[in-house]
């Protein structure tokens, strides 16, 4: 019998923010600074990371996942500086990450894939079968768990990706465009899952769909050209827009208003 609560669950937190960035700069390639002086503090909850294409959302998420090293500034996860520690293992054990275009092994079954990821994430060996089953059930793939990945539809593959991200019960969950390829019904189910996860996890969801944010996020982070434009609740974002700004919903109008004010968009799109 596994205990429902462990000492680690009830221990007090020793940090104020799960994610804290100060003057964070992350370089992509040799010259481009995709995240350029970002100040951001995120705690438990579901945070929607909004921004136009090319705003640096993916780069920011990769830096938060410790795949990219910050070029300058400070990035703290769980109160520990990422650039300071030589050993990222302890941090990475508490992170779940779904890349935008995540590759997988086509010949693996869903269960084998999630099991393999659990092994890579150093989930204790005895806990792996139960953790995998739980993750697969949470994304509604239990009936497909023993099917090979290549037989799945795009939406199911994405759900398998979400399953591998949550298999280690992460304290910080980073999802890059997770709703791409989901049909409307799946998207609704996914929003419920996001709300559920956001209760005890710091979830960062990057998206360019404003309605996803409205439905599932407790907090909006608006991001353009590598800088923070706005952080606050969806209501405040909606209030920022007036009828003169383009958009079909108050949130969309608020989004265009804030982006228009920061006025750093390149090109006509």
């Amino acid at each position: 019998m596994t205990p429902a609560m462990t000492a680690a669950d009830t221990a007090p937190k020793t940090y104020a923010w799960e994610i804290r960035a100060a003057g964070l700069k992350v370089r992509v390639g040799r010259k481009k600074m995709a995240v350029d002086g970002l100040d951001l503090s995120l705690s438990t909850g579901t945070h929607g990371l909004l921004g136009p294409n090319g705003a640096g959302k993916t780069t920011l998420i990769r830096a938060l996942a410790t795949v990219l090293r910050p070029a300058a500034g400070e990035l703290e996860l769980f109160g520990t500086s990422v650039s300071g520690v030589g050993d990222l293992r302890a941090l990475r054990r508490r992170i779940g990450y779904l890349p935008q275009e995540f590759g997988y092994y086509k010949r693996f079954t869903v269960r084998e894939f999630v099991e393999y990821m659990a092994w890579l994430k150093e989930v204790p060996k005895a806990d792996i079968p139960a953790a995998v089953q739980r993750a697969v059930e949470r994304v509604g793939l239990a009936d497909r768990a023993d099917h090979r990945m290549r037989t799945l539809s795009g939406g199911m593959v994405r759900r398998a990706g979400i399953a591998q991200a949550i298999v280690n019960d992460p304290a910080v969950l980073l999802l890059d465009e997770p709703t791409a390829g989901l049909d409307p019904a799946q998207r609704l189910r996914f929003r419920e899952l996001l709300q559920e996860l956001g209760r005890d996890t710091c979830v960062v969801v990057s998206t360019h769909l404003v309605e996803d944010v409205a439905a599932a996020c407790s907090d909006v982070v608006l991001f353009a050209d590598g800088r923070l434009v706005f952080q606050g609740t969806p209501e405040v974002l909606a209030a920022a827009g007036g009828a003169e700004y383009p958009g079909d919903s108050p949130l969309e109008r608020g989004y265009s208003a804030l982006l228009h004010n920061s006025e750093q968009q390149g090109g006509t799109w």
Partner: protein, 271 residues
């Protein structure tokens, strides 16, 4: 976990469902019961004596469910590969290893057919043997070839231990294949290529901590091909660096490479 156990009175109260129990006591007791098998068995005994109603209820439910439980068979999970295989090999490595085995087999057949006369003393297998294991390591840790590279790179296990694991499994397949090959054809002795191939592998790992393993291996293959293999091929003789008297140099390079890998071990998680 404290080694204190719950008192008999507390467990009896809990079994009766005593509403007067303080919430914090209840919580502490349940947390303890979850982790303590002896106290759970005492609770079971206590339920039988203190709360016969519950015991009969549980028995009734069990009697009702028993036929269904007997009929239910746990579906065996379909599994195409044992767990240890994925721990040591990535799926992309399997085709590569199969290809290497095929190539060495073909070379073996060529040699058996009397082709060495065409190549002179420098057997082509001998010229590629020193860099072949290193290529396998590069394949095992390649961003371009491994679809799950991005996922793997963000996990705690990514880094030197995983890289070494995959290196070991590549060497475990490629080295015996080359050994058998050399022994059967007589075109090369293990002394000629074994130490160089290990030295190249360690050099690729060491340089890999700076520029990435794939790039390091590619650079070393090009260097080997241009500086040593092509001239030797052209001249039709065994290159000087693969003569047995050069072994101490290769040994020194291997030690240097291993030393560099150990010194740079912290740099690998960030690859």
């Amino acid at each position: 976990m404290s080694t204190e156990h719950a008192s008999r009175r507390l467990i009896d109260d809990y079994a009766r469902g005593d509403a007067a129990m303080a919430a914090d006591t209840l919580w502490a007791l349940e947390a303890h019961l979850e982790t303590c098998a002896p106290c759970r068995s005492r609770l079971a005994a206590s339920v039988a004596t203190e709360a016969p109603g519950i015991a009969t209820l549980v028995d009734t439910v069990r009697a009702g469910l028993a036929p269904q439980l007997d009929a239910a068979v746990q579906a065996p999970s379909r599994r195409y590969r044992p767990r240890w295989v994925s721990a040591w090999l990535t799926p992309i490595l399997v085709p590569w290893l199969a290809m290497t085995a095929t190539v060495t087999l073909l070379a073996l057949l060529l040699a058996a057919a009397g082709a060495p006369m065409l190549f002179g003393a420098a057997s082509p297998v001998l010229l590629i043997a020193p860099v072949l294991p290193m290529c396998g390591v590069a394949v095992a840790w390649s961003r371009a070839l491994d679809p799950a590279y991005e996922l793997t790179a963000a996990t705690p296990r990514a880094g030197l231990p995983l890289l070494l694991r995959r290196t070991v499994s590549v060497l475990a397949v490629v080295l015996p294949a080359l050994l058998v090959e050399g022994w059967l054809t007589g075109a090369m002795t293990a002394a000629q290529w074994l130490l160089p191939s290990l030295a190249f592998t360690s050099a690729a790992l060491a340089l890999g901590s700076v520029v990435g393993v794939t790039r390091a291996a590619a650079a070393l293959v090009v260097a080997w091909g241009v500086v040593i293999a092509a001239p030797a091929w052209h001249a039709g003789r065994v290159p000087v660096v693969l003569q047995p008297d050069q072994l101490p140099v290769w040994g020194a390079l291997l030690v240097l490479g291993i030393g560099a890998v150990i010194a740079r071990r912290r740099a690998y998680p960030a690859l």
